[in-house]
Symmetry: C2
Subunit: 211 residues, 2 copies
DNA sequence: ATACCACTGGGTGTTTCCTCCTATTTTTCC
DNA sequence: GGAAAAATAGGAGGAAACACCCAGTGGTAT
């Protein structure tokens, strides 16, 4: 009995690449591939995989919502994220949504097969570099990547900052005082652990909070 | 006589994906694949492809330098960029360095084959969306994406800005006066057509100038 | 009912940003 | 060798950012 694998990724090249990598593998078989969330959900109704390879950035539904949905409705499927996003934040975030593995798209066929095999057997799998980074964070007691929740208002203001608006402009547009805007700004700096607006933009982009 | 194709991309998944896409194609054959610039140059010494599929972001050499080198030393090779970067700037930039085609990694096998075929036959090929955007820029007489050259010093300072350094800090580190740093800043704003550092960072990231 | 938290607003002071000038020296290129 | 571009530096001024405070209000969860 082979391990049944399904892929959801909007890039044909990636799908074909994985197909080729798993081709003729003695223990793994590919049962279906999906270009987007809807297609995936349709496929899941026809046959259930043991392991689902899931991209984070896809048109329509976001990977984290999709992961949460699949985890809830098909708890027996083990989800492995397959992405280019190499920030520990995303690892934490996706594991919160029930995934069991996190693999980068730079992986080769041996890594891919090993990752699939180990999460099928019940272990978790995280890309080596990211695993080390997460471990380092824990040992170092760093909170930097353990991002606190960004509130609705903060997110709103973050977006406006990112579109090159100054604090006075934001205050005017939101009908609130300059002080309030600057308070929100400062809170964003604190929460993301950055020193200035440059860091804010970089970090927020890295975390997928903007753009 | 088939069209001889070579790939240079640091992601095994992408290489395998393209291999699979071109497998059994009646008119196209893959003669070698390379994971980085060095490996590519070594491969070129053994056999010459008609078309080279080249990634922009690779460890070590950057895609544009590599393209320029190959264009100069092997003018008979037609280079097609294969990348995720979907900004018109990169199209302009890579064509400046002698490439003949620009394809996004979201392409499917038909697009891939068509693109290879058309640049082999002497036409250029640009992803449809990017082609439209470029055309729009021309018709609209927009200069926004026609980014002037960023000088070495400006690049240096841009990197320091991106690492959250303030102007006084940069001045101190480079042993130049604050005025000079601020001049370079202003010039960067002008060249990238932005209003403040936020815009600078976003634009620079978009253009691949930083990170 | 009380404790928490998001959102709001204010004050005060320093630093940095950003713009608009001008101007000299050095490097690069044809 | 002469022109153009890049790098350097200065002043002057206003706007914005950033770092500290503090404090009231309204919702909500225990």
């Amino acid at each position: 009995m082979k391990i049944k694998v399904s892929i959801a990724d909007d890039h044909p090249i990636v799908i074909q690449g994985i197909e080729k990598m798993l081709d003729n593998h003695p223990l793994i078989e590919l049962i279906h591939t999906s270009k987007n969330g809807e297609s995936l959900l349709r496929n899941l109704k026809t046959a259930l995989p043991d392991v689902l390879l899931l991209d984070i950035q896809m048109p329509g539904q976001q990977g984290d919502e999709l992961a949460a949905y699949v985890t809830q409705h098909y708890p027996e499927i083990r989800i492995m994220v397959l992405t280019n996003m190499d920030h520990p934040f995303h690892v934490r975030n996706m594991f919160k949504h029930g995934v069991k593995g996190y693999l980068l798209k730079s992986a080769d066929k041996y890594e891919l097969a090993e990752a699939i095999d180990s999460i099928y057997k019940g272990s978790n799998y995280i890309d080596r570099l990211l695993r080390d980074q997460l471990l380092y964070e824990v040992l170092d007691n760093k909170k930097a990547h353990n991002i606190p929740t960004i509130t609705k208002r903060e997110k709103e203001i973050l977006d406006m900052i990112a579109s090159e608006m100054t604090s006075p402009q934001i205050a005017k547009k939101l009908f609130i005082s300059l002080s309030t805007v600057e308070n929100h700004r400062s809170n964003l700096f604190l929460k993301l652990g950055v020193k200035n607006v440059v860091g804010l933009i970089s970090k927020a982009a890295q975390l997928g909070l903007i753009k």
